[in-house]
Subunit: 162 residues, 2 copies
DNA sequence: GCTTTACCTCAACTTAACTTGAGGTATTAG
DNA sequence: CTAATACCTCAAGTTAAGTTGAGGTAAAGC
């Protein structure tokens, strides 16, 4: 009963988000609810994990659009199992590693490049980082619009490795 | 002559940004220009490094506001030297390290937490990461609004260590 | 049974970091 | 000298991820 009778308010409190955020996630297709006789939202308990996973993914810098696409890999009819979630998790771990590696490269070349003045030159490792990542024929691109939108992961093919 | 006679177009092309971006950066106080007789912007060559450093900092996830504050530490009257830039760089390296460490913690606890269901619980290491970072009396906070604005670094005290 | 919460919808506002466009002036190439 | 660029200003638009508020209904507490 309480298993499929969560109200927005309870979910919001439990997950530490606003009610409006849950409404918003629903319009984005990230979570789902059914309505009771009085047109109020009711949730199954698994919404809690969904919201928590959304929050965790956001901390990794993954956009809602990419999260939605990742969720698309979850079973549609049955409630996702632990294995389903772990699969998702492993996928994101790969992205997280790529992201960490990217920041490490940035860190390691930062002082040298800022100091030497090569930053505005064509052969600077920092300056050309995007170009390398975005090079054609070089496998799926991991980071999208790096300089523009705060290192968000690309929506269109999040999860590809190599 | 060409040392202080860079036009917006030339700077834009050299730095790989739009002219409108340079206008924008100027309104934000990130770069400066003088005007020629016909009211057109002219730049000193050091604008190239400034723009490049802005771009590098953005790749680290540092906001323009924080970048502006960091630039405030640069000399106002003379053109910044290599040492000036290196100082800035070292400051950001510390933030970059903190950011990398944060993502590593997230990665290492991700699969376990997503799988075990603790994500929505109070004792989950991922779920409570923000709280730990934001705990009072625990030294300066490094990451701000982590879950909200894609891990941007805090504006108000960017650069503080430990 | 009534009053306080909790919900509902829908539109508009918020911030960051830019971009786009309109209407007009300067510079440059030939 | 003139046509093609390049610039100028200022206002408005864009995206992500929500938040805020108005006007109205449902459910819960006592």
């Amino acid at each position: 009963m309480s298993d499929s009778n969560w109200t927005v308010g309870k979910v919001a409190k439990r997950c530490g988000v606003n009610v409006s955020t849950l409404h918003f996630y629903e319009t984005k297709g990230l979570i789902r609810s059914w309505r009771n006789a009085g047109n109020q939202r009711r949730y199954k308990a698994d919404v809690l994990r969904r919201v928590s996973v959304i929050k965790a993914a956001q901390k990794m810098g993954i956009s809602l659009t990419a999260i939605k696409q990742a969720f698309a890999a979850l079973p549609d009819q049955r409630t996702p199992t632990v294995k389903d979630w772990e699969k998702l998790s492993r996928r994101w771990q790969g992205e997280l590693n790529a992201r960490i590696a990217y920041l490490e490269r940035l860190r390691d070349s930062l002082t040298g490049c800022i100091g030497c003045g090569c930053l505005s030159m064509k052969n600077c490792p920092i300056y050309n980082e995007d170009d390398k990542l975005n090079a054609e024929g070089n496998g799926p691109v991991i980071l999208e619009r790096v300089a523009k939108r705060l290192n968000q992961f690309r929506n269109s093919n999040a999860g590809h490795q190599q």
